[in-house]
């Protein structure tokens, strides 16, 4: 039982910023950049040695067989790069990793799904892409279909599937891949609550069967539920490896910028986000000053600054608020108001700030995490970062403060109580 399943030694991965994140170049750019260091190249050069960044730096760890290890960290901390190296999609620059057993990676479900093909055809195709043999798929076919709950539509092209059905089918195929080592990245961020529950259940089964799982997520409650031990990454290095509750606390307490502002630099934005480009997320309780500590008795302003490089149809930009334990407090979008949504049915290119204000006496004292999301409903999620900014709320003057106790629950409204004597 104490055998090593994964051994990672001094693993490093370097990206050239001129080329990355994941950006190809044209011949013209190569030629013109060799004459002048302009635009992106010079912006990148200001950061570290001649436009190179280490996405991972000297990572070493071991995972025992049957262990479920969580990996957490901010966007750009190197989590995805680590998983990509371990699942052999990209090569490390230095160091090595030794893996014992077949690796299955769920970096994204539904890879290779073709909208024109039927559910049945896609099961075979996707299975083959994930490395299953044909007989293996034949054997598990019924099980996969049953798990996905799309029996009736199995011969319909998947382009006619609802997004929920599509996801269920895609996950069903991936979940029936039986690797000794499973690498999972954020698949649970998509789909409805029911689907997420099912995915988590399946992952739990996998772990119980004694297989090794590496699980990357921003969902702290999922990490807490599924893993015993967690690695915290920051700027490509391992900050901490500890029992999960401890690692999550550490991450929530110190893993963020403390200025009440979170900004995104070019290399932190994945290329899939285009044409949406996040710039900053801010919290303040008074006019334009930013605080990492706001007072619950003041109105709290949340501001998302972003740029749009080409018009986007149906865009909504919004925020999530979570407690440090990963329970959601609320989700709100700038076009929640139907009239507003009409007005911005197509959002032209430009530089924007979407701002909202939480009423006074809304949040309880404690630590909160703000995330942002920019998406067009059912079309595309441009950008999402559920853990963009942490801030704390000071409860001085809040209702009930005469008792110095900790109040349960994330909200602390000032309610009008009537006391009737009968």
């Amino acid at each position: 039982m104490d055998e090593i399943a994964i051994r990672v030694e001094n693993l490093s991965k370097q990206y050239r910023i001129g080329l990355t994140p994941m950006r190809y170049r044209t011949l013209r750019e190569t030629i013109s950049e060799s004459f002048t260091r302009n635009g992106r190249a010079s912006r990148a050069a200001s950061k570290e040695e001649e436009g190179k960044i280490w996405a991972l730096r000297d990572i070493s760890f071991e995972v025992h067989k049957g262990q479920v290890l969580g990996i957490i960290g901010r966007n750009g901390a190197g989590k995805s790069t680590l998983l990509k190296i371990l699942s052999r999609i990209t090569e490390p620059t230095e160091g090595y990793a030794e893996i014992r057993g077949r690796v299955g990676s769920l970096l994204e479900v539904g890879t290779g799904f073709h909208p024109e093909l039927s559910g049945r055809e896609n099961i075979y195709l996707n299975g083959a892409i994930l490395g299953m043999k044909r007989e293996e798929i034949d054997q598990k076919f019924d099980e996969i279909v049953a798990f996905s709950e799309v029996e009736k539509f199995i011969d319909t092209p998947v382009k006619r599937f609802s997004s929920g059905m599509y996801l269920r089918l895609a996950f069903a195929v991936a979940a029936h891949l039986e690797p000794q080592i499973l690498v999972v990245d954020e698949v649970l961020a998509v789909g409805d609550a029911e689907f997420q529950r099912k995915c988590l259940g399946k992952m739990n089964d996998v772990a119980k069967e004694g297989r090794t799982v590496l699980f990357v997520s921003h969902n702290m409650s999922a990490i807490l539920r599924l893993t015993d031990e967690t690695i915290l990454l920051d700027e490509g290095r391992i900050v901490l490896r500890a029992p999960t509750p401890q690692a999550v606390d550490h991450y929530m307490a110190s893993g963020f910028s403390q200025s009440g502002e979170r900004t995104w630099s070019i290399d932190e934005i994945p290329s899939e986000s285009a044409p949406f480009r996040p710039i900053a997320l801010r919290v303040s309780d008074n006019d334009q000053r930013r605080y990492d500590r706001v007072r619950s008795t003041n109105p709290i302003t949340i501001e998302v600054e972003y740029a749009i490089d080409a018009p986007i149809k149906g865009l909504r930009v919004g925020v999530y608020m979570q407690t440090t334990r990963g329970e959601f407090v609320f989700t709100s979008f700038d076009t929640d108001n139907a009239q507003q949504f009409e007005n911005y049915s197509v959002r032209p290119e430009g530089h924007y700030i979407s701002r909202c204000t939480l009423p006074p006496d809304f949040l309880n004292e404690g630590q909160y995490v703000l995330g942002i999301n920019a998406s067009s409903y059912r079309v595309k999620r441009y950008f999402q970062d559920e853990n963009a900014l942490a801030f704390s709320v000071d409860g001085a003057g809040a209702p009930g403060k005469q008792w110095p106790e900790r109040r349960l629950g994330p909200v602390r409204p000032r309610l009008e109580w009537d006391i009737d004597v009968r």
Binding site: M22, R23, R25, E98, T111
Partner: protein, 283 residues
């Protein structure tokens, strides 16, 4: 370079992941393990194409037949290009067949990596599977178009020569050439998207350098050596020779063509393998 070696202990695989230096090995063994994926991707290409288009498999016939009609009117009729002992339509069709495989394979493989980028960045598999699948789907079109060839031969009462058994060899030469060039272009296309725009021009120029609308014998004697450096010359003339018995039997020059095709093919595989490790970061 990624090496995987199967160790007998409960068929447990040990995979060593480390940076690769210089030119790696081709690792054809792994490609063999993934042969089913080649099959499924080929099948996907065909199925999707036939599902999406109204004519479906009809395109595999319509394209070469229309080309034949146009060539026959302009080159055979108006320009009176010499087609030897056989009518011009069948003369050109015998060339359009292998050319079609070549041009389609070249086009599809060249773009294949970029159009499958979602797979490249999410899943590991030997990358060469993708251009290989593109080539196989062009062969399927060839088989369909070949039926028309049989029909034409029946119509013009031309019996295939006893050399028809060599046909698969010429086809193989066309495929190897296309795959070799395709491997180079597809890997370069990941790095420089300009390549994607160049491919149609490359194909077009190559078309004129190949005896499709004319006969290879029209090329002056002193140029023949350089002309034969183009493997497609050997392929097209070979097709006419094996099917129609027109052109001369392939001269030793076909050997030069084959060697060139093999050099391009093998160097293409090595270049592809070398570039492969950066695909996921660049595509």
């Amino acid at each position: 370079m990624i090496e995987s070696s199967a160790i007998t202990k409960q068929e447990e695989e040990i995979t060593l992941i480390k940076p690769s230096k210089g030119w790696g090995s081709l690792n054809l063994r792994e490609l063999w393990i993934y042969r089913e994926l080649v099959y499924f991707l080929t099948w996907r290409d065909l199925k999707v194409r036939y599902k999406q288009t109204a004519l479906g498999a009809g395109w595999a016939i319509l394209q070469p037949v229309l080309s034949m009609v146009v060539f026959s009117i302009f080159f055979g009729g108006l320009l009176n290009v010499d087609s030897g002992d056989v009518p011009y339509p069948i003369f050109s069709y015998a060339a359009i067949l292998p050319w079609g495989v070549f041009a389609k394979a070249l086009n599809d493989t060249g773009r294949s990596l970029v159009s499958n980028r979602a797979m490249l960045t999410k899943i590991y598999f030997p990358r060469m599977v993708i251009p290989l699948a593109s080539v196989f789907s062009s062969l399927a079109d060839f088989l369909i178009a070949f039926v028309v060839m049989l029909g034409l031969m029946y119509y013009y009462q031309i019996a295939p020569t006893s050399n028809i058994w060599t046909l698969p060899l010429f086809l193989l030469l066309a495929v190897i050439t296309a795959l070799g060039v395709g491997l180079w272009l597809s890997a370069m296309n990941v790095l420089y998207r300009d390549i994607g725009y160049m491919i149609p021009y490359i194909t077009q120029l190559w078309f004129y350098l190949t005896p499709i609308v004319y006969s290879a014998s029209e090329v002056p004697e002193e140029w023949q050596f350089f002309y034969a450096l183009n493997p497609m010359v050997g392929v097209v003339e070979g097709f006419r020779w094996a099917l129609l018995g027109t052109a001369d039997a392939p001269s030793p020059m076909i050997g030069v063509s084959a060697v060139i095709a093999l050099i391009v093919f093998i160097s293409g595989m090595f270049y592809f393998r070398r570039m492969e490790r950066t695909f996921a970061d660049m595509v």
